[in-house]
């Protein structure tokens, strides 16, 4: 069972007051800390769990610059066998379509039974790369997968649907699955583990080696402007001691009909 997992390094944005950049097309990232996208963390863990069960290899891939290798090292430390980075300096150039083009071009030449991506990435929240890749690779796919079982040449997957429903599908391999958080409990990788994983194979590929034209990679989406949500009215700040706040709050809830 050979599994390719596409991963992304994203900024840690909880607790941070985001600042819009000068072009108003994105956010300032120079002060931010970066991590492996949470969904991808589950995806790589799932791939390693399957490998531990059915043998095979796990390859982690990312598109980005040298700094982005950090997430590949983490994948290697978790148990991936090798990693590939497609060297791209300015990720802002590409939208989901461009990224999916690059990734599927690389994945096409690799031996694989399964391709995993996270359901979405914590930065732009588009959630499109996985499905586009399946389309370009012309393979089956399932979304928001929360359970996988392999049964001779097929994968029995459970997808999360709206309203707490689950959908079970039997999919012919090779296939692409977008992995939902909660499918497993990703293991902790220690700093020592990451430092040791530096010795594992990490291949860097140039975009020019892939033979994709600039035209093919050009953006299909246009960002007009990025802005912080405007302050709206209707918010009310309750003041006073805890007792007063609680009784005021209760009164509002009763008035608005939330409670009787």
């Amino acid at each position: 069972m050979d599994i390719v997992v596409c991963v992304k390094r994203v900024p840690l944005t909880e607790e941070v007051d985001l600042v819009i950049d000068e072009q108003r097309k994105g956010i300032k990232k120079d002060q931010l800390a970066f991590v492996l996208n949470d969904w991808d963390n589950y995806a790589i863990e799932e791939a390693i769990l399957l490998k531990e069960k059915h043998d095979g290899t796990v390859t982690a891939i990312t598109v980005g610059n040298e700094d982005d290798e950090e997430v590949l090292r983490r994948c290697l430390a978790m148990g991936a066998d090798r990693a590939i980075r497609i060297d791209v300096d300015d990720m802002g150039r590409f939208d989901s379509y461009g990224i999916s083009k690059i990734l599927s071009r690389v994945v096409k030449d690799l031996p694989f039974d399964l391709v995993f991506t996270g359901v979405l990435a914590d930065d732009d929240y588009s959630g499109m790369v996985g499905m586009m890749m399946a389309e370009q690779l012309k393979i089956n796919h399932a979304n928001a997968v929360i359970a996988i079982e392999i049964e001779d040449g097929k994968a029995r997957t459970t997808s999360e649907l709206e309203g707490g429903l689950s959908e079970v599908s039997l999919i012919e391999l090779p296939a692409l699955l977008t992995i939902q958080t909660g499918i497993n409990e990703p293991r902790y990788v220690s700093i020592l583990g990451i430092r040791k994983a530096a010795k594992k194979e990490l291949k860097v590929m140039d975009l020019s080696d892939l033979g994709i034209s600039d035209e093919e990679l050009s953006s299909r989406t246009i960002i007009e402007e990025v802005y912080l949500p405007p302050e709206t009215e209707g918010a009310q700040i309750l003041t006073g001691d805890a007792d007063k706040i609680a009784s005021d709050f209760l009164e509002i809830l009763t008035k608005k009909g939330v409670m009787e």
Binding site: V35, S190, L192, I194, R195
Partner: protein, 680 residues
């Protein structure tokens, strides 16, 4: 005094006595050597340790804690009883050699013991025999009737038997030796009132015939030396091994309190190691294995362990005993070939001998180590077990998240490093310099994460900079260039991350020049002082400010505006780990008109607040109450209405505990510096 009885020359079933004595000695000592050799094998298979530095200090500790047993009377009466038995053993060892001697050669005596010195010794040993005998009786009665809770075991009842057996054996040895002397006195027909034990016993033997007395003498003699040999061989099998290992264990004790041992003493770069920490018993250092041998099962550690007190699944004593029992079981003394062979077969301790929550329950407060009469170490072992759990991904999600935030942002909150100095914005009355590259100051104030980011703890930092400013100290902070001190990280077992954060801080320290570091937090103080490389001059704020008050630079003048009765709580990492008990008390006492009471558990018996280390992020199942609640109740018992602390975590834990105990309005917690600054 033999009166015609010469065990060495008599014949038993035609075998001369000296031959029997020789056989007892040879066989007994051979078995004993074999057992010790087996114990040595496990010790040898363990990891290296450095324990032969500071020899002068080690020898003085050996006398104070080993020979004089300074820690025994921390439990007063039983401590005194133990000292009696110990000294009895020391005194009676000469008698034991002499008795074996006369079994080989009639009239044997040790060098210099032939004349009046020997007679003096005889009196001395007679007095000790009666002391030891009564001590044994008292100890047996205490165990059987008073049943101190600290001797109870959760996992195994068989251990109690050993204590009775050994006390019985010791008592029996005293009785037989007294009988030897007593029968000799009656045989000699003279009074020996200077031997109180033997003399008193001799009254019971009056009227017995000479032959009967000789039989008494003879058989008590043989029973005595046989019992001694049995005793000797029984010792290394259980807790009484401490009779041999305790004194070496004290000599080899850990000298640098507060620090955590490196993952391996013999390897500097952790990247060279295949694995970190302790998975199986052979991964402990040989000294830690010696600790397992030495445990006397006295239960003082667990009796003082805050985790144990509040019902967490941790009893330090049982940790030791479980590991020891398992090790002895897996390395049987006598086994058929190929069976019970040690080596790689030892299973992981976690899951087989210990449970994960046992290891996570420890707050590293050090109460157990402070109490142990034989200096058994617990914290380093706990951290080594955690190191293995971290490296093999056996670590609760809560810790994973916290560690990831430490790694990514240098603080446990996940706040951006650029905001680390933002607390200064709220400070209007004092201007604080953020040290840039090349800047100079006398004092580098190391704020650390909680005082930088937690709104409640920021008040502590503000009080400290106000104090520094008032005393006209030239100081600065590192602001965004400061990373977490990593005290927690190291004690969670994430050594690689610890090293990363230490490196970041050391790099930042190097860019500016300062004479000393002052910290908000006892934990930061401890790790900078004891864990960081190099010789940083580090002071906790309490230690730093005291001389400023004593020299009159700072004068508390304003009286307090409350009628509170204050009690000072010793933070573990200020008190027990670094011995700072008086500076904070003097600082508190300098406040005019303050009323102070002491809690019953104070100074080195202080009771942990619940811990800063890892305990803020993880709830342990089975806990009956929070440690903080227990401590707040103790403060109330002492008659206090305000707890004064000098540690961010104590403050947070007590603040929480006061609310959950419903004591709001009756009890409050305040940081020492905040209180002090309000009186300037």
């Amino acid at each position: 005094m033999h009166y015609g009885v010469h065990p060495a020359l008599e014949h038993y079933l035609g075998i001369p006595g000296y031959l029997i004595t020789s056989c007892i000695l040879i066989v007994g000592l051979a078995i004993f050597s074999y057992i010790i050799y087996k114990r040595y094998l496990l010790l040898r298979s363990a990891r290296p340790d450095l324990r032969f530095d500071s020899l002068l200090r080690r020898f003085s500790d050996l006398i104070i804690y080993g020979i004089l047993q300074k820690r025994q009377p921390r439990y007063l009466w039983i401590g005194i009883l133990h000292i009696m038995i110990f000294w009895g053993f020391v005194v009676l060892s000469l008698r034991t050699i002499t008795l074996y001697g006369i079994g080989l050669k009639p009239g044997f005596y040790l060098p210099f013991m032939g004349g009046s010195l020997g007679e003096f010794y005889h009196v001395f040993k007679d007095i000790f025999e009666i002391i030891v005998l009564f001590t044994c009786i008292a100890a047996v009665l205490r165990r059987a009737i008073a049943r101190p809770a600290r001797y109870e075991f959760k996992h195994d009842k068989a251990h109690k038997f050993g204590a009775y057996l050994v006390l019985g054996l010791i008592g029996f040895l005293m009785l037989t030796d007294i009988t030897i002397d007593a029968s000799a006195i009656v045989l000699g027909g003279e009074s020996a009132y200077w031997l109180p034990a033997a003399h008193s016993a001799s009254y019971l033997l009056h009227g017995l015939g000479e032959d009967t007395l000789r039989v008494l003498y003879r058989w008590n003699y043989w029973l005595h030396i046989l019992t001694i040999m049995f005793f000797l061989n029984y010792l290394p099998l259980g807790k009484h091994f401490h009779i041999m290992t305790a004194v070496p264990n004290v000599f080899l004790r850990k000298l640098k309190k507060g620090s955590i041992k490196p993952p391996r003493w013999d390897v500097e770069d952790i990247e060279e190691l295949d694995s970190l920490g302790v998975e199986k018993i052979e991964d402990f250092t040989w000294k830690h294995v010696l600790d397992f041998y030495t445990c006397t099962e006295c239960g003082r550690c667990s009796d003082n362990c805050p985790a144990n007190t509040v019902g967490r699944p941790l009893s330090p004593m049982e940790v030791t005993i479980k590991i020891r029992d398992d090790a002895y079981k897996r390395r049987p003394l006598f086994a058929l070939k190929g069976k019970g062979d040690p080596g790689d077969q030892s299973p992981s301790l976690i899951g087989n001998v210990l449970e994960p929550d046992e290891v996570w329950s420890c707050t590293t407060c050090g109460a157990c180590e402070e109490e142990c009469p034989v200096f058994i170490e617990y914290i380093d072992k706990m951290i080594d077990l955690r190191r293995h759990m971290v490296e093999s991904a056996m670590i609760p999600k809560d810790f994973q998240d916290a560690l990831m935030r430490f790694e990514k942002t240098g603080n446990p909150f996940g706040k951006p490093p650029s905001k680390r100095g933002d607390w200064l914005e709220e400070l209007n009355d004092v201007s604080v310099k953020i040290l840039q590259e090349g800047d100079e100051a006398d004092v580098l104030y190391f704020v650390d994460s909680y005082a930088s980011f937690d709104p409640q703890i920021q008040q502590m930092a503000m009080a400290i900079v106000r104090g520094l400013d008032r005393a006209r100290v030239s100081f600065g902070i590192l602001g965004p260039r400061e990373s977490d001190s990593a005290h927690q990280v190291r004690r969670l077992g994430e050594e690689g991350l610890f090293q990363l954060l230490v490196e970041a801080n050391i790099e930042a320290f190097k860019t500016c020049s300062f004479k000393q570091i002052v910290t908000t937090d006892p934990h930061a103080f401890n790790t900078l002082k004891n864990d960081y490389p190099g010789d940083l001059v580090v002071k906790h704020y309490t230690e730093f400010f005291l001389p400023l008050i004593e020299s009159g630079l700072l004068k508390p003048v304003k009286p307090l505006d409350t009628a509170d009765i204050y009690t000072y709580h010793d933070p573990c990492y200020l008190g027990r780990h670094n011995g700072i008990y008086d500076a904070p008390r003097k600082l508190l006492a300098s406040i005019p008109g303050i009323r102070i009471v002491e809690m019953q558990r104070s100074r080195d018996r202080s009771f942990c607040c619940g811990g800063g280390d890892i305990n803020l992020w993880y709830d342990i199942e089975g806990e009956e109450m929070r440690m903080g609640e227990k401590r707040v109740a103790m403060a109330q018992e002492a008659g206090a209405t305000a707890i004064v602390s000098a540690c961010p975590f104590c403050l947070l834990n007590f603040d929480d505990a006061i609310k959950t105990s419903g004591l709001e309005g009756k009890m409050r917690v305040i940081d020492l510096m905040e209180l002090f600054v309000s009186t300037l």
